[in-house]
Amino acid sequence: MNNSIKSLLAVLFGLIAGAILMLVTGHNPIEGYMYLIQGGLKNPERIGNTLATATPLVLTGLSVAFAFRTGLFNIGAAGQMLFGGFCATAIGLSLDLPRGILLPLMILIGFVGGALWAVIPGFLKAKYNVHEVVSTIMMNWVAYWTVYYVVPAYFKGASLETESRQLPPDAMLHQQWLSDLFQGSYVNLGFFIAIIAVLIVAFIINKTTLGYELKAVGFNRHAAEYAGIAVQRSIVLSMFISGGIAGLAGVAQYTGNASSIQIGILPTQGFDGIAVSLLGANTPLGVFASALFFGLLYSGRGFMNAMTEIPPEIADSIIAIIIYFAATSILIERLIHKLKVRRIANKKQGEQDHVDNA
């Protein structure tokens, strides 16, 4: 069975489960879903907002997926995203450069910031075998408190309390023609960053020796070592790239979807990235599609809320259930895999005997 069918099945299960919840709580699921979809896609502005909502999710999903392909569980996308976004914001607030130079610089610094945040756990893993789940989570909090301290101390806005100063227009991914195209939506250049990142990652994973190495390490560390691949270097490199992509999510979020960085909050997109990655079967295109789906859910939920009597908590539960089921595509996969392996193993025995006896 092919991956996309699996994911679609998972989504279908999720929608059914969500519908059951709506029914149980006395709401009309068809109406609910109709408004959910309308809320995300009814007019160009809403479509734009859906794309904008999906943008950081594409990137965090990609980040998690990339690490996963190398056998690493990067749970720290939130911290990497926050720190990458912070670095980009700091550049945007500090340097007065023409837009054509400033934006690429911010994107680059955002990437590097996120990457550095992930390299530390990567290094600890490679050198001292510290489990990356633990160290990336801890790095999340280091990022949280770093931003918490540095932003008010150096980048505080006069009229904003829990946020940095607003970025000047030239330092934002916001692009007027794009907003106009989507009739005032806050969709921005971040979406293109996401698309480009998807394409680049797909290329790296599938077409390059680097991707070959990283995947080999992910699938079987011992075999990679045997083949002469520098396993430790691959781990660090993989975390670097994964963190960098999460950093780009921060750039998209804080200098695109928002115009300043907030303190006291770890971006939820970092964690949603895990679910996005799972639903997307850890492939770049899959991640892109599943992030759009998540974006639609998050974006359309409020409208469903507003148009029906479904209260926000139930709406949240519905979304959570859909995500829960969607993320269990891996369960579906396991189930299918189990059945398949058994069948293949058995068939193989049969075939082998055939072959040997021939």
Binding site: K207, T208, T209, L210, Y212, E213, K215, A216, F219, N220, H222, A223, A224, E225, Y226, A227, G228, I229, A230, L339, V341, R342, R343, I344, A345, N346, K347, K348, Q349, G350, E351, Q352, D353, V355, D356, N357
Partner: protein, 510 residues
């Protein structure tokens, strides 16, 4: 006829396959009955059914003439059926007695265990069956052969009448094998009955009374071992005639390719695994390393290939010192390595066959250029190996390796390593777990490599394989080189003694 165990018309189906199809095996009281079959023929399934781990779909099991339903291993135990597993199930820091009573401790004493009574009984059993086990010895301090006897004692302690031995000789030296066979004879003479699961014909010949051969889940027949030749049984097992000797001419050794000089290596537990080990391997020869598992073979290979750091000593390949070089540098210097565990080291199971066949050379032209993989060259390479090494898979190069059979996985590795045209080919357990057909083929390829003037270092736990293939044999014991002999001038007995640590001269006098 009184049979202790009868399994009649047993059928067991797993989703998509029939593992056992109408198998019948009858065990007479006081006999050693061999169950012979290739890997995957259905031996394990059958014995798991007898031991209560699976339920048969059809068929009948009788114990002592009474039909029984064995729903779990405890029932099997109560019926007097015991199994000596291939991998021992012992607690290392416990004593022999503690291990034996584990799970059937004397319950009437609410506090503490009545070790002494138990130990006495262990002692008695040990003497009666000639097992010679010290009830108070700790498992971690006794040899593998002794540990196996503890497993046997465990069954006897639980009053087992029928003992199933699952591939019992895999971990033993030839001498230990002899001892085991002695014990088995003693057991049957005392009235026990034994089922011996194996694929080694020699052992069957040595010890079994009758032999049931199964192939592809079906009973091929039950024969009287004394009246049946090895060749006949082999033919029943694989379904065609098989040759047992490796065709090879006299070797023409050339220059030294690999020089190992007083090598010291630590194992994963930080204990010295190789002690001042020195060895030369020449071009145009197969040098076999004989030894009981765990005597430093793994560490030797890993030290040569770079997977494990060297404490002291040198490894020189064609005049080039390898110490300090990375694995890749060593690979590129002309070492190819068929690893011991093909699924752990040798293959990325979730990669396609194509991808696996470039595992060490993916970053070299023509397979990649400026960091980009070139799929055309990669598939050509794969097709070439698939053809010349007869690697069979579902969809050729694009098959996921996980879905391939063990024999074909191994052929793929051998093809990959041989195609790299190495000066030194290190083959570790190259035929482990493979069927007779694949073994023949792989042996031929190794000899071919030798005849091309390459050096081959063969490490195997199968003494027959080492004897048949090698030109010279180095025997390793406890990390030390016991001696080097010419395979044409030695025999299994001498090697066995050397494997146990006796020097060549001593071995000759034994």
């Amino acid at each position: 006829m009184d049979y202790v165990v009868e399994m009649v018309g047993i059928r067991k189906e797993f989703p998509g396959i029939v593992a056992n199809d109408d198998i019948t095996i009858r065990l007479k009281k006081g006999e050693i009955h061999a169950l012979l079959g290739e890997n995957g023929a259905g031996k394990s399934t059958l014995m798991s059914i007898l031991f209560g781990m699976y339920q048969p779909d059809r068929g009948m099991i009788k114990v002592n003439g009474r039909e029984v339903r064995i729903s779990n291993p405890n029932v099997a135990n109560r019926l007097g059926i015991g199994m000596v597993h291939q991998h021992f199930k012992l607690v290392e820091p416990f004593t022999v007695t503690e291990n034996i009573i584990l799970g059937s401790e004397t319950r009437k004493y609410f506090f503490g265990l009545d070790i002494r009574t138990a130990a006495k009984r262990v002692e008695q059993l040990s003497q009666r069956y000639g097992l010679n086990v010290d009830p108070y010895a700790k498992i971690e301090n006794i040899s593998v052969g002794m540990q196996q006897r503890v497993e046997i004692l465990k069954m006897l302690y639980r009053d087992a009448e029928v003992l199933i031995f699952d591939e019992p000789t895999a971990v033993l030296t030839p001498q230990e094998i002899n001892d085991l066979q002695e014990i088995m004879r003693k057991l049957v003479s005392e009235g026990k009955s034994i089922i011996l699961i194996t694929h080694k014909l020699k052992e069957i010949k040595a010890v079994a009374d009758r032999c049931t051969v199964i192939r592809r889940g079906k009973t091929i027949g039950t024969v009287d071992v004394a009246e049946t030749s090895r060749e006949e049984m082999a033919e029943m097992m694989v379904g065609r005639s098989v040759s047992f000797t490796v065709d090879k001419t006299e070797g023409h050794p050339g220059d030294v390719v690999l020089e190992i000089e007083s090598l010291n290596v630590k194992n994963s537990k930080k204990v010295n695994a190789l002690k001042s080990f020195s060895l030369n391997v020449n071009a145009g020869e197969i040098l076999g390393i004989a030894g009981v598992d765990g005597n430093g073979q793994t560490e030797l290979v890993e030290a040569i290939t770079g997977l494990r750091p060297i404490e002291s000593g040198t490894v020189v390949l064609k005049g080039k010192k390898l110490n300090g070089l990375s694995i890749r540098q060593r690979n590129n210097s002309g070492i190819a390595h068929i690893p011991e565990d093909r699924q752990k080291r040798g293959l990325v199971l979730d990669y396609t066959l194509e991808e696996n066949l470039i595992l060490e050379v993916y970053n070299q032209p023509p397979y990649s250029k400026r960091g980009l993989l070139r799929s055309e060259a990669i598939s050509q390479h794969a097709d070439h190996i698939i053809q010349s090494f007869d690697v069979r898979s579902g969809t050729g190069g694009s098959s996921i390796v996980r879905s391939m059979s063990g024999g074909n996985q191994q052929k793929a590795i051998i093809g990959r390593e041989v195609e790299r045209d190495p000066d030194l080919l290190i083959a570790v357990q190259p035929t482990r777990g493979l069927d007779v057909g694949s073994i023949e083929y792989i042996h031929k390829r190794l000899v071919e490599q030798r005849d091309k003037g390459k050096a081959v270092l063969l490490i195997s736990l199968e003494l027959d394989e080492v004897l048949n293939l090698s030109d010279r044999i180095a025997v390793i014991n406890n990390g030390e080189l016991v001696g080097i002999v010419k395979s044409s001038e030695t025999n299994e007995r001498e090697l066995g003694l050397m494997m146990a640590g006796y020097r060549k001269e001593e071995a000759a006098h034994e």
